[in-house]
């Protein structure tokens, strides 16, 4: 089954890199949605079917943390798995993100193999 993904980052280049990496990882991708911040991402999730979200943390307008918090308050959105893609390496910060609903964490720079492994872990073998 092809996955509908949402890529959230304020950098167009980073969004393109993540999408390219998903393609290189051989993950079956359906619709690809993009958002430049958490607020745009929430609007996309309310208007479209999204299977998996890849999101940065530090973004203008609405951060990834605030997006996670608002998703958690929404019965429909809280079931959508969020993978945080960030440069941060702090285990303290990663544990905090897990408590706020993050399903997985990918640290930059990343490889297609790492992305595939994370998607497989979340979505299961049948979807990847």
């Amino acid at each position: 089954m092809a996955l509908n993904v949402l890529v959230v980052d304020d950098s167009e280049t980073v969004r393109s890199i993540i999408i390219k990496t998903l393609e290189l990882a051989g993950i079956p991708i359906g619709d690809v949605h993009q958002a430049a911040n958490g607020r745009e991402a929430l609007a996309v999730m309310r208007d479209h079917w999204v299977d998996l979200v890849f999101s940065d943390i530090n973004m203008p307008v609405m951060s990834g943390l605030e997006m996670l918090a608002q998703m958690h308050e929404d019965d429909t959105l809280k079931t959508i798995p969020v993978v945080v893609v960030s440069t941060e390496g702090s285990t303290t910060r990663i544990e905090s993100l897990k408590k706020q609903g993050m399903r997985a964490y990918i640290r930059k720079p990343f490889t297609p193999e790492q992305v595939r492994s994370v998607v497989k872990e979340i979505m299961g073998d049948a979807d990847v």
């Binding site: 167009e12 280049t13 890199i17 440069t87 941060e88 390496g89 702090s90 930059k108």
Partner: protein, 155 residues
Amino acid sequence: MQMSNPQTALTEIFCRVLEEFAFLFAEPVENEEITSAPGPGFTAKMTFSGPITGQITLFVPESLIYVIAANALGVEPEDTQRAVLAQDALKELLNITCGQLLTALAGETPVFHLSVPVVSRLEANAAAALPDAVTLLVDDVPVSLHITVSEGTQR
């Protein structure tokens, strides 16, 4: 991995990140070995604060910035001629380098605040003039790196 010399750590980590991010190899050289001026380019700067505080500056000549963006995106350099795309790639390169550097310098536990990288166009390589700046050759093009660090400053 704990490193005591920020400049040495920055150089090593930048080389590794550049290789993984843009498939380019960098080699440190002495400034005297640079025979030609790099020409106009872009300076990216970002600050970090936490258990240690500081700023990283990166200068990349214009001719190289589009190659970095193209390699990172997996497209041809002519497809990245939009300055915003190329500058975005430079910001991301610095952002990743900074994140990896802080783990190397301070370990995996501390939480840092990283500023958004700021890119500005310069007619000459101002970073190379900074004390302790390191110059690296990337595809025979000189790139300069500089870091300032002060310890024990909590945000």
